[in-house]
């Protein structure tokens, strides 16, 4: 029986049930990718048993995610678990002779190996290569974001880049490519969840390396197995803020998406405007804190629900770490980044204040009604360093909302 959850996010029925009914009877603890690694390594979270799926494993427990019929790519997340759990159980459908040639997690951490028929349906995990969005609004936003990046001066030889998942994020690369090849710019690394599109950029020489915690599609699985410059990294190496170094802190440019962004540039990517838990923290707070320039790309509204709002439902990524907002209706620079504002002004890029941005949106959507909450806490949002960033309260109006699903 599950009595508690520590996670990056919650979606679907569980997220709804926890937000509206507190089914666990206690708060879910939400952590960033880096915060998760930090909490485990610092001993704040004790793992008694870790069950780890591996697509290939030798009889001593050396394992990877790139060989075998169920290859899925990077083992960035379980790497930390294996090192700190009391007992480690590997679940695999492909046992190879000792020693396995490519080792993601080594045998010294492994207690048991369980062989099963199949560890999962790869067709459902990954199909072909992730395509860049064809949605015209997303493409417009991506194009403008690329213009902002170029004008900001960060797109230069050796720069590093990461983009979150979501409509416009990945498409930004598409518009950077032309500028990079015209000016003979080669980036040092791109990171994050790796897709076939980033692999193309690596293979075409736009970036020298990829740092991969989670592999998103089959094209990227092939690449991480075969390309020495496609590097597997643990989630701790990715984003743990208490490490001596982590890749999130080496970023020049980070592109984020958002469920909500407010007048203070705070980002919410976890809860919906009706208070339901439907997203995740992911690596957004980690990369926003680490990157020299953090740009949010988002449409101003989705099905009337405004994304640019007065105040976010919950703060996931603090506005102090967010520099620019790009939507289909305009570009707003965080007043704390006057240096960026000056660069954009000099490049002739038109910007509007975040207050005007909000007004543009509210004129169309109208002001949403206030959702009523109880004083029952159903979620705790931890910042990457373990401090409490925000609390999620149980909603009061769930009866009305549920009957209209």
């Amino acid at each position: 029986m599950v009595t508690g959850l520590h996670t990056s996010g919650l979606r679907g029925k569980i997220g709804r049930a926890q937000a509206t009914e507190n089914i666990l009877g206690k708060p879910v603890v939400f952590r960033t990718h880096g915060g998760r690694a930090r909490a485990i390594e610092a001993g704040e979270v004790k793992i008694d048993i870790a069950f780890i799926g591996a697509s290939a494993c030798d009889p001593m427990g050396n394992m990877n995610g790139v060989d075998g019929k169920s290859a899925f790519g990077s083992m960035g997340y379980p790497m930390v678990d294996a090192m700190y759990a009391d007992k480690v159980v590997v679940i695999t459908d492909h046992i190879c002779p000792f020693p396995l040639s490519k080792i993601a997690i080594p045998m010294q951490y492994v207690d048991y190996i369980v062989e099963v028929e199949s560890i999962g349906d790869t067709a459902l995990i990954a199909t072909g290569a992730t395509r860049v969005t064809k949605n015209p609004t997303d493409l417009l936003i991506a194009k403008r974001a690329a213009e902002v990046l170029i004008a900001s001066g960060y797109i230069k030889e050796g720069y590093s880049f990461q983009a979150g998942s979501g409509g416009a994020s990945l498409a930004v690369c598409k518009y950077l490519k032309a500028y990079m090849s015209e000016n003979n710019i080669v980036g040092s690394f791109a990171a994050g969840g790796v897709t076939g599109y980033l692999v193309e950029l690596l293979e075409q020489g736009y970036f020298k390396a990829l740092l991969d915690t989670q592999t998103f599609d089959v094209a990227a699985v092939d690449s991480i197995r075969d390309n020495i410059n496609h590097i597997e990294m643990s989630v701790s190496m990715y984003a743990n803020p208490h490490n001596k170094a982590c890749s999130a802190h080496q970023l020049d440019v980070m592109i984020l998406s958002a469920t909500e962004i407010d007048k203070q540039f705070n980002i919410n990517s976890l809860t919906g405007s009706t208070g339901v838990i439907m997203g995740a923290l992911g690596g957004a707070p980690d990369t926003a804190a680490g990157a020299k320039l953090t740009v949010v790309v988002a449409p101003t509204m989705r099905k009337r629900i405004p994304i640019v709002v007065e105040e976010v439902t919950n703060i996931v990524t603090p506005g102090d770490t967010v520099d620019v907002l790009v939507t289909e209706r305009g570009i707003s620079v965080n007043p704390k980044r006057q240096d960026i504002q000056v660069m954009l002004d000099q490049a002739g890029i038109k910007t509007i204040s975040i207050d005007d941005h909000l007004e543009l949106v509210e004129k169309l959507t109208g002001k949403p009604e206030q959702i009523q909450y109880t004083d029952e806490i159903v979620g705790v949002i931890e910042y990457r360093d373990g401090t409490v960033m925000d609390l999620i309260y149980k909603t009061q109006t769930h009866q009305a909302r549920r009957s209209f699903d």
Partner: protein
């Protein structure tokens, strides 16, 4: 006789108008009801006022439409319903 206008696409709305009843009755179905229920209903009622309709039962099935879409769909549905009544 009922007249219907709109589609079930995202950001659209279907409005079904029956020119019967006592006053304007709006039956709203929308995922956005907790956030925008009052505004959606107000847009429908405003459209009725502008079209001089005093008695109608209006079923609104909203998929995230903005007010100008809701009003356009409502007015077209009313116009169609009026045509049927006058035919």
């Amino acid at each position: 006789m009922r007249a219907i206008c709109g589609t079930e696409d995202a950001s659209d709305v279907t409005v079904s108008v029956l020119l019967e009843g006592n006053g304007i009755v709006v039956n709203l179905k929308s995922k956005n009801k907790p956030l925008f229920g009052r505004l959606i209903e107000a847009a429908v009622k405003e459209s009725c006022l502008e079209m001089n309709v005093e008695n109608a039962t209006i079923d609104v099935n909203d998929f995230g439409a903005l007010d100008f879409v809701i009003k356009a769909r409502t007015k077209t549905a009313i116009r169609e319903a009026l045509k049927q009544v006058n035919a």
